[in-house]
Structure formats: C-alpha cells, structure tokens
C-alpha cells in the first residue's frame, strides 16, 4: 500500500478502534509507513554521500579562506583551476543524473566561487562583496543547469539571493548592478522590488517548466526568497522607511506580489505553501504597521498580540481546510 498516511492518522485509528499493541503493529506494517530496512540503508547511504560532497566543498572553501602563505599565489590558482578542470572532466565522464556527475558539477560550482574569492583576496580588486556573489551566480549558472540536481540549484539560488540581499541591504554605489540601478534613477525600494520580481519570475518559470534541476523544494526556496524581498519592501513601505518617498510604491508592489501569488496558487489548487508564505508576509507587514498607526504603548502591544492571534487562527484554519479540500480533489 502506498503510504499517504501520517502518524497522526494512525494514532487516530488506534484510538477509535481501541487497538491493542499487536493490532497496532499489524496496522503499522500494513499501512507502509515504516520504511523497509533496505530503504533506511539507502536513505542513510544517500545522506552520507551528500554529506561527503558537502564536506569536500567545505574543505575547498576553508582552504581558500585560510589564505595559506606557504603556497604561492600561482600555486593556489593552479590548484583551484586544476580542481575545476578535474570536476568538469568527471562530469563529462560520468554525466548527471549519475551521482558522480551531479556531485562533480556541484563541486565545480563551489570551485568557481572559491576561484573568484581567491582572485579578490589576491588582487584586492576593490569589488563589493555582492559583486563576488553575483559574478559567481552568473558564471556558475551553466553548472547549476547541467547538474540536474536540486542541491546545486539550491546553492545557486542561495548565492544569487545573497548577492541581491547584499546589494539591496548595503546599497553600495558602483559595480555591475549600478550600471542599471543607478542611484539617481532608482531607489533601494525599487531594487528590492526588482529582486522580488526576479525571484518570482524564476519561481513561475520553474513551476511551469517542471525541470529536473529544480525540484519542488527548490521552487519553494525560490518563493521564500521572493517573499523575503516582498516582506522587506512591505515593511519599508508601512514604516515610512524610504527616504525618497517611495513608500506607496513599496506597499503597492508588496500587495501586488501577495495578490498575484495568492491568485496563482488558488488557481493551481495544488500546493498551499505559496498561500502560507503570503500569510506569513502579510502578518509581518501588518504587525510592523501597527506601532506606526497607534501611538500608545499598551494599545500597540494589545493590538499586535490580537492581530497575531487572530490572523494566524483564521489563516491557519483556512489553509488547513484548503489542504484537505485540495488533497481530496487530487485523490478523486
């Protein structure tokens, strides 16, 4: 029997039918909720292999960060470049979806970042940190696509969003992105909204194309990153945080993103994660608005508590019901 059952379902059955331990044991076996020994070993082996790849990646990053003086600059570059070639050659010899190919391309992606970091560390280029991450994301994109592996895609998303966060948060003047977002023409709010839009577009593309390289959990990561920026814009808007008077645009942009994603998810009737993210974002933005609107400490904390309890109760109830309804529709 395919296991769509949760432990909660089985607990309820054990209670309703007053099952004894032997009957519960039979139910656990029949329901298929207990992975077989082979499946457990397989999971553990996969976890260790993933851990092995991540450990090698960490070793590489730590080595570059150590800036070991006993190896000359030429030697350090040569080592990383040779490793990059080795990983690419490995990926060609054992291409994805085989694990060796996937792991090699993940390590090639990490090595690309390490090489860029070493370049900046050695020549003190004066580039902002966001530029390192952005260049890494751009140069590493072929590896992320070719890897056909969620882990590499997720690492790419994290690198891209780190670049965007650093760009929007530190607001540096200069570098690649300021060729577009020049300080006199665009404000930080618009940069944040652009970052949100980019993530949302990537999410929609990933959902529609259903690529092997971007499994469901990476789609959710993209959406979470998008709503990190949406919430940021919303909070700036409601807290009157844009010095250039763009608060209305910040609130409008955030509201539009929430409505668009909410409508898309409601139309798809597949996954409530987007609606949960919208709910979380809305709860935070409104919570930040309350102290701006009420200038009395007691009332502020009372209303904030009330809002959190009320919004999460209603939102949680609606989303729980939708989960059941959509699951039933899918089963039918």
């Amino acid at each position: 029997m395919e296991s769509k059952l949760t432990r909660g379902d089985l607990d309820a059955l054990a209670q309703v039918y007053s099952l004894d331990p032997a009957a519960v044991e039979s139910m656990l076996e029949l329901s298929g909720v207990r992975p077989a020994r082979a499946a457990r070993l397989q999971f553990l082996a996969s976890s260790l292999r993933y851990g092995g790849v991540l450990s090698l990646a960490a070793a590489l990053v730590f080595f570059v960060a150590a800036n070991w003086s006993k190896v000359a600059v030429f030697g350090r570059f040569a080592l990383l470049e040779l490793l990059l070639l080795l990983f690419v050659a490995l990926a060609f010899a054992r291409p994805p979806p085989r694990f060796i190919g996937r792991g090699a391309l993940f390590l090639a992606f990490i090595t690309t970042g390490a090489l860029l970091a070493l370049f900046g560390q050695t020549y003190q280029t004066g580039a902002d940190v966001y530029e390192l991450f952005l260049t890494w994301a751009l140069l590493g994109l072929p590896f992320a696509i070719a890897g056909q592996w969620g882990v590499t895609s997720a690492a790419w998303v994290v690198v891209l969003d780190t670049a965007l966060t650093l760009f929007c948060g530190w607001n540096p003047r200069g570098g690649i992105l300021w060729a577009v977002f020049d300080g006199s023409r665009f404000t930080v709010t618009e940069a944040i909204l652009a970052a949100a839009a980019l993530n949302l577009l990537l999410w929609i593309a990933a959902e529609r194309l259903a690529l092997r390289a971007v499994p469901g959990w990476v789609c959710r990561l993209l959406l979470s990153c998008a709503f990190g920026f949406v919430t940021w814009a919303g909070v700036i808007g409601v807290m009157d945080g844009d010095s250039a008077g763009m608060n209305g645009i910040a609130i409008g942009g955030a509201a539009l993103a929430m409505l668009a994603v909410g409508a898309y998810a409601a139309r798809q009737r597949r996954d409530i994660y987007p609606l949960a993210v919208v709910l979380g974002s809305l709860v935070i933005v409104v919570m930040c608005w309350i102290p701006e609107a009420i200038h009395n400490d007691e009332a502020t904390f009372f209303v904030m508590a009330l809002w959190l309890i009320g919004a999460s109760t209603i939102g949680g109830r609606v989303l729980t019901l939708l989960t059941r309804q959509w699951r039933t529709e899918r089963a039918a």
Binding site: T6, D9, A12, V24, R37, A276, T323
Partner: protein, 335 residues
C-alpha cells in the same frame, strides 16, 4: 477512497478490527510542517506581546503579582486547551497565553537567582510540567523542544558551576579549563546527548505499545520535540555570548574542541534518519538545515586554523564516501 478508508477496509478484511466496527473516521486536518512552524512562531511572538501588554497595564512590581499573572495565564491556556480538545478555534490564543504564562512564571521564580544551574534546572522543570499538564500536541511539542535546550544548560552548568557566560573564556578570549578538569568536556557532551538519544530510540522502538494506549498523546509530541532538540539544541550549547555567529570568538585557540560542531552535525544526521523512519519530511528538512548551520558554526566559531578545518573536512568527506559505499552495498544485499 481515501488512504485511511482503504487501510480500515484492509484491517477489517484481515480481522484486525471487527466486521461491525464503525466506518473509518474522516482523516485528520493535520497541518503541513511549514504551517505549523508559522503558527507556532506567531503564537510564541503573540505570547511575548501579551506579557508586555499585561506588564504595562498592571505594572507588577512584586514577585507575587508576577506569579499571579503567570498562574492566571497558564490556567487560562489550560482551560482553553481542555475545553477545545480538537484545538480548532482557540489554539492560537491558548498558545499565546501559555507562552506568556511560562515567561511570567520563569520571571517570578528566577528574577533574583544568579546560579545558571538553578535557572536551567527550573526552566527544565517548568517545561516538563507544561509537557505533562497542557492537553495539546503543539504545546507539548514546543515544551519538549525547550526542555531539550534547558537540559543542555543543566548539564553544562552542573559541570561548570558559576553564573554567567564568562565561564567559558578568560579575559584574553582563550578557553578556560573547566573547574572539574578537561575530561568534563567530553563527559558533558555524552551526559547531554546520550539520555536524549536513548529516550528517542526507546520511544521509536516501543511505538506500537504506546500507540495502543493513551500515552500516544505524550509520546508523539515528545518524539517531535526530541528530534528538533537533537538537531537544533547544539546551537544553544554554545556559551550565551557566542550564540549563532559570534564573530568576536574568531581566533580563539580551541584545539580539538573544534570537533564538537561535527558531533552536532552527526546528531542532526541522526535526527534526519529517525525523521525519515517516521516519514516526516518536514523534520528531515529541519535536520538538514540544522546540519548546515552547524557547519557554518564550525567555520566561524572555533579557532583551530582554517587550514586544519579544511583538512578535517577533507578527511570527513572521504570517510563519508567510504561509509556510503559500504552502506549502499548492504542496502543492495538487503533488498
């Protein structure tokens, strides 16, 4: 036909439940993990706001007044959970009251206490009490998780008697030798985690026994709390000043202490393995996230040179591949 009904029919056909037993109940409205996380966080934050609000309104200045507020809030939370056993309508309000009540009780009992051991032991006791008394799965899960964190501090402060975070470092930022000797570091780790691992393994092994009794209402949230505790509590075992990314500790000479975050990663992987056994992929995700946080701690917090760390990770990576290959072969044999 839903999976629950299908299972009930199978149980009926096999004679495990009687032929005239009532039809299958409707499947539970279980919340997905991310929704439970969102609601739990909202309830926790609301609890803090409730307490601040009450503090501003009543301005309690005596221990008795704070204690009275704590007892009233906890009592109200218990009443709401008890009255609405399905926890559909008032669970968020009850959770907020419960958190606020616990904070007030902790405030009242600990505001004049300087001993870390006493603080940690009291909070551990309080979480155990909440776990035992509150008739709600979410409240018990949160209590079990917080109890794990409190337990780590109970063990630590037992082996390093004193009152604050400077127990761990001297004025130069160097690691202090524990008063009872260096051996207590490893013993402390074992004392912290072995009982939690043993409890978790025992609960998993006796699942069918407690599922057949009312203990299921306690054991299920205890398992979730323990898994969260094993994966995440390692972060809390750092000295208070070094929680998360305490960059000020860079360069501290720690020698073999540097291996401890790797042990935390091993705990997180163990938690992921157990969560897989329960088919709880949300918990698997939390454990993987925790492992990555521990790796970041390894990079930032411990002053063994980065070169040594690089070498350690290289050796670990190779060892993991070897272990994976051995397991893979065993999995093939078993299949």
């Amino acid at each position: 036909m839903t999976a629950v009904r299908q299972l009930v029919e199978t149980l009926r056909a096999r004679g495990i439940i009687s032929a005239d037993a009532p039809p299958a109940p409707e499947p539970l409205d279980e919340r997905p993990w991310f929704l439970a996380l969102l609601l739990g966080f909202a309830g926790w934050l609301a609890g803090i706001f409730v307490l601040v609000f009450l503090g501003l309104v009543f301005n309690p200045d005596s221990t008795t007044a704070i204690l009275a507020i704590g007892l009233a809030l906890s009592g109200a939370a218990w009443g709401m959970y008890f009255a609405d056993r399905n926890a559909v309508f008032v669970d968020q309000l009850a959770l907020a009251f419960s958190i606020a009540g616990q904070l007030a009780l902790a405030w009242a009992t600990l505001k004049d206490v300087n001993s870390m051991l006493l603080v940690a032991a009291t909070l551990f006791g309080l979480q155990c009490l909440v776990f035992a008394v509150m008739p709600n799965k979410t409240a018990r899960t949160i209590a079990a998780f917080f109890a794990c964190i409190a337990w780590t501090f109970v063990v630590r402060s037992s082996l390093r008697p004193g009152s604050s975070a400077d127990l761990f470092f001297d004025d130069n930022g160097d690691a202090k030798i524990p008063p009872l000797g260096e051996w207590t570091v490893l013993v402390g780790w074992l004392l912290t985690w072995l009982p939690l691992i043993a409890l978790l393994v025992w609960l998993l092994r006796t699942e069918s026994r407690w599922m057949a009794s009312n203990l299921r209402a306690f054991a299920r949230p205890a398992i979730t709390g323990l898994l969260l505790g094993l994966a995440l509590s390692g972060i809390a075992t750092e000295p208070v000043t070094m929680l998360l990314f305490g960059l000020q500790s860079l360069g501290i000479r720690f020698s073999w202490y540097a291996l401890f975050p790797l042990l935390s990663i091993a705990l997180a992987v163990f938690a992921a393995y157990c969560a897989f056994g329960l088919r709880s992929f949300g918990l698997v995700g939390v454990a993987v996230f925790a492992a990555l946080v521990h790796l970041a701690r390894f990079y930032y917090l411990y002053g063994t040179t980065l070169l040594w760390k690089s070498l350690i990770m290289l050796v670990v990576g190779v060892a993991l591949f070897a272990a994976a290959a051995a397991l893979q072969a065993r999995a093939r044999e078993t299949a």
